[in-house]
């Protein structure tokens, strides 16, 4: 359908094959910027999630003991609630009159509200919050396979904490890190509710653009083309993750 076209002002689809829709995406700065913005947000979400999930997963595997089940459940809750409820909750938390700004102001730490809604910061917070479990779960299962006492062995051989992470824990958690990164990146790329609500219509991402075209403009062929571009990126990420796993297994 993405190679069909729809004349302006009409709802009738012309099924003559054309690359017009793709040319429009490539030629219009609005869509290219949207694409780059989406890629950037997804990348930042992945990086932040990895940064948070690594110590958290290590702690769950090595230190949580009998609280492990409870903590894993707490980590998973945002996922099983769907996208809408946690995002609405975050709006309360992040808004100019929300919990975070309210607390900081009443403590006298800031004079003016931080702008945490209607911009990329808010979306980033929402995305990391929503997709952290996708990073934690594969990491926990990768770290679970770490032989007991390897950290102790490394330290007794002269490795400081940072070297233990760099030389032992990170290489051994690479499969989990790659799988988690691919999952988080793809989820963030296609996420729709989070950027819509936390961006408050001021930050367009690829998913919200496709939504606009499909549901508001009713240009289905163009919406399909946008979706196809997203699909192509997903396929690319999938292939890259698969290649990276093979590479990690070999080295």
């Amino acid at each position: 359908m993405s190679i069909w076209s729809q004349p302006t002002g009409s709802l009738i689809v012309d099924p003559t094959p054309t690359i017009k829709n793709y040319a429009r995406i490539a030629g219009d700065g609005y869509y290219i910027r949207g694409l780059l913005r989406t890629l950037w947000l997804s990348l930042a979400t992945t990086a932040l999630a990895a940064l948070l999930a690594l110590p958290l997963s290590w702690w769950i595997v090595r230190r949580a003991g009998r609280f492990r089940g409870l903590i894993l459940t707490l980590v998973l809750i945002p996922m099983v609630c769907g996208a809408l409820l946690p995002t609405l909750g975050l709006m309360n938390l992040l808004g100019p009159l929300g919990v975070i700004n309210g607390t900081l102001k009443s403590l006298g730490l800031i004079d003016r509200s931080w702008k945490l809604l209607g911009n990329q910061t808010g979306i980033l917070i929402g995305l990391v919050h929503a997709f952290l479990p996708l990073m934690v779960l594969p990491l926990v299962s990768a770290l679970d396979r770490l032989p007991r006492d390897v950290e102790g062995a490394a330290m007794s051989l002269g490795a400081k904490r940072l070297q233990v992470w760099r030389r032992i824990i990170l290489p051994l958690s690479a499969p989990g890190l790659i799988a988690g990164s691919a999952l988080v990146f793809c989820a963030a790329l296609t996420s729709f509710v989070t950027p819509l609500l936390l961006g408050q219509g001021k930050v367009a991402t690829f998913a919200t653009m496709a939504y606009q075209q499909a549901s508001l403009v009713l240009d289905w062929p163009f919406a399909s083309a946008l979706a196809m571009v997203m699909l192509a990126i997903l396929a690319l990420i999938g292939t890259a993750a698969w290649g990276a796993q093979k590479w990690a297994a070999e080295t």
Binding site: V150, G152, A153, A154, M155, S156, G158
Partner: protein, 360 residues
């Protein structure tokens, strides 16, 4: 008891450790002489592994001091201690080859490449794995993995080598040969070594000194022979030996009389008191005819163990195990049990040694 060594290479000074309200080490004091092979022996939960981890720096003690070669290392982090550590589960780095594993500690010390290569080869040769450097640990047998772990620990030329139950994951045949190799390696390198084990036979066969621990305390620190022949407590007597010493509670004088037993003079005085005899199975003799001071006993069964035969008997209502000499045949169930003239007597309630009062 052999007097403790004069020079102290490692001084463990009143180390205490608790987990919550459970005290796992009660102000433990121990001096380790240079070049010694010391074994920390005790049942599981006695605190021996905790003590080893504190020496390695992987655990912090609550109180006390560690002095290694005159340096106070109590607050030194594990990576600055120069102490080699070998774990029960090997803890090899699975993503590195054998040679990379052994080189790890040398890498951390930023040694020149050529020296690292030479020392890796030297360490692998010492454990006879010279040709397996390119393999990954997963491609090795359990015994080989254990030897890689040992090579990795000695490659850094540690000031102290710590072994945490190094043989427990190996099968019985391998265990005996790795045990001999460990002792050989120690004798060749001269590294002061502390090993933790719960296996008394392993401790007796490998150690210069056996440090017996129970419930967070050192109960005896002695040579293998000393701790076996002259246990300082009923616990020590019953923990060492296979089978361990029989703990035989003494009857009252009248009960002894009714069964027709005239105990040896060294024992007679303890009748009716809070006393136990610790009797090694090989120190007891069974005869079919009465001998002076022999105890009437009932033979229940003879267990064949190859080189040994163990007679299970009952005397005064208590089970005892007697090691039989090779040529002895017993045909009747009613036998006489001859005790050593001066057996070791312990308190039944505290387990403390009552007699002989001094060495001998």
């Amino acid at each position: 008891m052999v007097p403790p060594p004069m020079t102290s290479y490692l001084k463990i000074d009143a180390i205490g450790k608790s987990y919550g309200t459970t005290r796992v080490l009660h102000d433990v004091r121990l001096d380790v002489a240079p070049g010694d092979f010391t074994v920390l022996l005790g049942p599981s939960g006695c605190g021996k592994s905790t003590l080893l981890r504190i020496i390695a720096g992987l655990l912090d003690s609550d109180s006390g001091k560690l002095v290694l070669q005159g340096d106070d290392i109590t607050a030194l982090p594990a990576w600055d201690r120069d102490i080699g550590l070998v774990f029960q589960n090997y803890a090899l780095f699975p993503h590195m080859t054998v040679a990379e594993n052994v080189a790890f500690g040398l890498d951390m010390r930023n040694l020149p490449k050529a020296e690292i290569k030479a020392r890796v080869a030297e360490a692998l040769d010492a454990v006879r794995l010279g040709d397996l450097g390119d393999r990954k640990p997963a491609a090795l047998s359990g015994g080989q993995q254990q030897r890689v772990a040992i090579a990795r620990a000695i490659a850094i030329k540690p000031r102290l080598l710590l072994l945490d139950e190094p043989l427990s994951n190996l099968d019985a045949v391998l265990r005996a040969s790795v045990r001999t190799e460990l002792r050989d390696l120690h004798d060749r390198t001269g590294i002061t070594t502390i090993m933790v084990t719960h296996d008394q036979a392993e401790a007796l066969s490998i150690a210069d000194r056996v440090v017996l621990m129970n419930e967070g305390r050192i109960v005896q620190n002695d040579t293998p022979e000393g701790i076996y022949r002259e246990p300082a407590s009923a616990f020590a007597a019953s923990f060492l030996g296979s089978p361990p010493a029989n703990l035989f509670p003494l009857p009252t004088a009248s009960a002894a009389q009714t069964t027709g037993w005239t105990p040896p003079p060294a024992v007679a005085g303890h009748l009716g008191t809070d006393a136990l005899l610790a009797l090694r199975p090989e120190a007891l003799k069974l005869t079919e005819e009465p001998t002076p001071h022999a105890l009437p006993a009932h033979l229940k069964r003879i267990e064949f163990q190859g080189a040994d035969r163990l007679a299970h008997v009952e005397a005064l209502g208590h089970p005892l195990i007697v090691r039989l000499s090779d040529d002895q045949t017993l045909t009747r169930p009613d036998v006489w049990l001859t005790l050593p003239d001066t057996p070791r007597v312990f308190s039944k309630t505290t387990g403390a040694l009552i007699a002989p009062a001094t060495k001998g």
